[in-house]
């Protein structure tokens, strides 16, 4: 990625072949990061209990917020570094690396400290009750103590990818998941440390991954490596990194706000158990979404390149093909959720009450999933052809703009089911919105081709 070429193959090779080749590595990385959630929740659900699962669920908005801040620095520094490497300006790339490390530590420590000070009010705001707050606090205190490492690990992974080492980044991601799984088993099942064990496992695996990354980046023969004298923050670099990273950060923060609303709604109209049920549904939904995102990431360079080269028929072909694959993936999710929900739920719990609530929620939540695949592809398509406004509208609409009104109104009439209904309701509207934006665009492209 350091060297930006315009590979002719993007303009000539068969679209299907290109799409698969670009999608496989992206999907592996996406799956790995969603597996991480599933593994943690599964061990806690089985090894500690249903209430611990709910306790874990109320910490998620906070974890997401932290990840959002981490991605701000990560995306910003990654973009800037790959730009500088493209210009063979290794000195500046080096400075950016050092600055991003300092910035990650700074933001990580400040966020961790502030959250630790206000841990009780924050968790209560996110939907913790007397029953769950103990678990949530026990987990979160350890995670927050290691927060700076989380940011460093995620940030450096972005940089490894930008600096032309996507494989190393992938090794770090997969390694963290495997290590975390092993430690979860050891701490929860063997040592019986409870929810604390999951947190310790997370922090240890991230610290080790970060150590490994540092080892990789201290090789002096590398184009960019960690070096003394690059850590002092420079105003212009920090500003550039944060400006670039702000938009993904805001999107993540918005998503975190919605989870907060859902958790509070579930608590108000249901119970602590419902929050745990939602976290099960969310994990499974997230995994499906991530697989579609893998295809999306593969579509981007293909659609972008061919759009730039005015090969509009190829642009349309890659769009249709990605929509088809996306729909296949979400339909698979639909089939599993509707016809064998217990199969998924059993991964997380054997508790009959939790299973019943999760089964009900899952069946409602996934009911329009076959339609969602194309919606996500459309949003990403706009991004790859240079219309970020429409792309941002698309992703905000489904998860935020359309969802919030439903979350406020529907529960008043249907109680807890109202919250479950909100998700497919906003899905349907956002699909309609997506196609109404896409159809004029496709007409235009057809006329041009």
């Amino acid at each position: 990625m350091a060297e930006l070429k315009t590979p002719q193959e993007l303009g000539t090779d068969r679209i299907g072949k290109l799409l698969i080749r670009y999608a496989v590595p992206a999907m592996i990385a996406m799956l790995a990061s969603s597996l991480y959630n599933i593994v943690d929740r599964a061990f806690i659900g089985h090894g500690v209990g249903s209430m611990a699962l709910s306790g874990l669920a109320v910490t998620f908005p906070l974890m997401n917020l932290s990840a959002a801040l981490g991605s701000m620095v990560g995306v910003g520094s990654g973009t800037m570094i790959s730009l500088k490497l493209g210009q063979k300006d290794h000195e500046s790339a080096q400075m950016l690396l050092g600055n991003s490390v300092t910035l990650n530590i700074l933001i990580g420590v400040i966020f961790g400290a502030l959250s630790l000070i206000f841990i009780n009010p924050i968790l209560t705001l996110f939907g913790a009750t007397d029953v769950t707050i103990g678990y949530a606090r026990e987990y979160m205190v350890i995670i927050l103590a290691g927060n700076a490492f989380t940011h460093l690990y995620l940030g450096i992974n972005c940089i490894l990818r930008a600096a032309g080492h996507p494989n190393k980044a992938m090794i770090a991601t997969i390694g963290t998941v495997l290590l975390n799984t092993f430690l979860d088993y050891l701490f929860i099942m063997v040592f019986h440390w409870g929810i604390k064990g999951a947190a310790i496992a997370t922090v240890i695996s991230q610290v080790l991954a970060f150590t490994w990354q540092c080892f990789q980046l201290s090789d002096k023969s590398e184009l960019i490596h960690l070096r003394r004298g690059t850590y002092r923050l420079r105003g212009d670099l920090v500003r550039n990194m944060l400006t670039i990273g702000l938009s993904p950060c805001l999107m993540n923060a918005a998503a975190c706000f919605v989870v907060l609303l859902i958790n509070r709604g579930l608590l108000k109209y249901g119970s602590d158990v419902a929050i745990g049920a939602y976290s099960i549904i969310n994990s499974i939904g997230f995994m499906i979404v991530m697989m579609v995102m893998g295809f999306n990431q593969a579509m981007q360079p293909i659609a972008g390149y061919n759009y730039g080269a005015r090969q509009f028929s190829r642009v349309l072909r890659v769009l249709y093909l990605t929509m088809f694959f996306g729909t296949c993936v979400t339909t698979l999710g639909f089939v599993i959720a509707e016809f064998m929900p217990d199969l998924c739920i059993r991964i997380f719990t054997n508790d009959p009450e939790l299973t019943a609530i999760a089964r009900n929620g899952m069946k409602i939540n996934f009911i329009v999933f076959p339609l969602i695949g194309s919606q996500m592809v459309i949003g990403n398509f706009f991004q790859s052809i240079g219309m970020p406004g429409k792309s941002i509208l698309m992703s905000l609409s489904r998860q935020v703009l359309l969802l919030i009104p439903f979350l406020i109104i529907l529960p008043r009439f249907y109680g807890i089911n109202g919250i479950w209904y909100s998700l497919p309701a906003s899905d349907i509207l956002s699909v309609v919105l997506g196609f109404s934006l896409l159809i004029p665009q496709v007409r235009k492209l057809k006329k041009l081709s």
């Binding site: 315009t6 973009t79 759009y307 730039g308």
Partner: protein, 208 residues
């Protein structure tokens, strides 16, 4: 030594930089590259010129849209977005390097001074002018209805865009004397004299 020399001219908006650049080029009998660069870049890559124009130095977004300044979250690492501002800038830089390899020339703007910083036959020039003169010039060249106050805000706007484009892509500071070999005020010397000075310095320094 590089085979060909080049003179990179940065300029404040309406400071006469382009006129001076063409005078210099005429006297040295070389070509000036300005917007043509975009055409070159598009020819090299097969991309439509329109994309380069949209990402050009005077099109930087402002206000809310600057939040989404890099038009895409381009570097997510798995995939390159070929239409991101960053990759368009890189393609444009390739065009600049290619021209530098094949002929002597004058570049106006587009961060050519940064792109060619490794070259040993390079003269970096920055042209400024007094604000009154620049306002006058805008009023003279613009259509009816241009007032001095409108001209002033137009100048500030264009300067701001050029500066944020340059600073973003180069990490240098636009118009900061530290990054140029000569900085000239065209209000003080006049265009002819500025061109004379640049030509004679270029001859001395670049071994023409």
């Amino acid at each position: 030594m590089d085979k060909h020399y080049c003179i990179c001219i940065g300029r404040k908006f309406c400071s006469g930089g382009r006129n001076i650049a063409s005078m210099v080029a005429e006297r040295l009998d070389v070509k000036v590259y300005d917007r043509d660069l975009l055409k070159m870049a598009s020819r090299n890559t097969g991309f439509s010129e329109q994309f380069f124009e949209e990402a050009d130095e005077e099109k930087t977004r402002k206000g809310l849209r600057s939040l989404f300044m890099s038009r895409f979250n381009s570097s997510n690492g798995f995939a390159n977005n070929y239409l991101s501002n960053e990759s368009l800038f890189n393609m444009q830089s390739d065009a600049i390097r290619k021209i530098h390899e094949s002929e002597d020339c004058v570049f106006i703007g587009r961060c050519a001074d940064y792109v060619l910083r490794e070259s040993d036959r390079l003269l970096n020039v920055f042209i400024a002018a007094d604000m009154d003169d620049r306002v006058d010039r805008v009023c003279r060249h613009a259509e009816e209805g241009m007032t001095p106050s409108k001209a002033l805000s137009l100048i500030e706007d264009v300067d701001r865009k050029r500066s944020s484009y340059y600073n973003y892509f180069t990490g240098r500071t636009w118009g900061d004397p530290a990054f140029y070999d000569i900085c000239l005020n065209s209000s003080v010397f006049g265009y002819e004299k500025c061109a004379d000075m640049i030509v004679s310095l270029a001859k001395e320094r670049l071994g023409i």
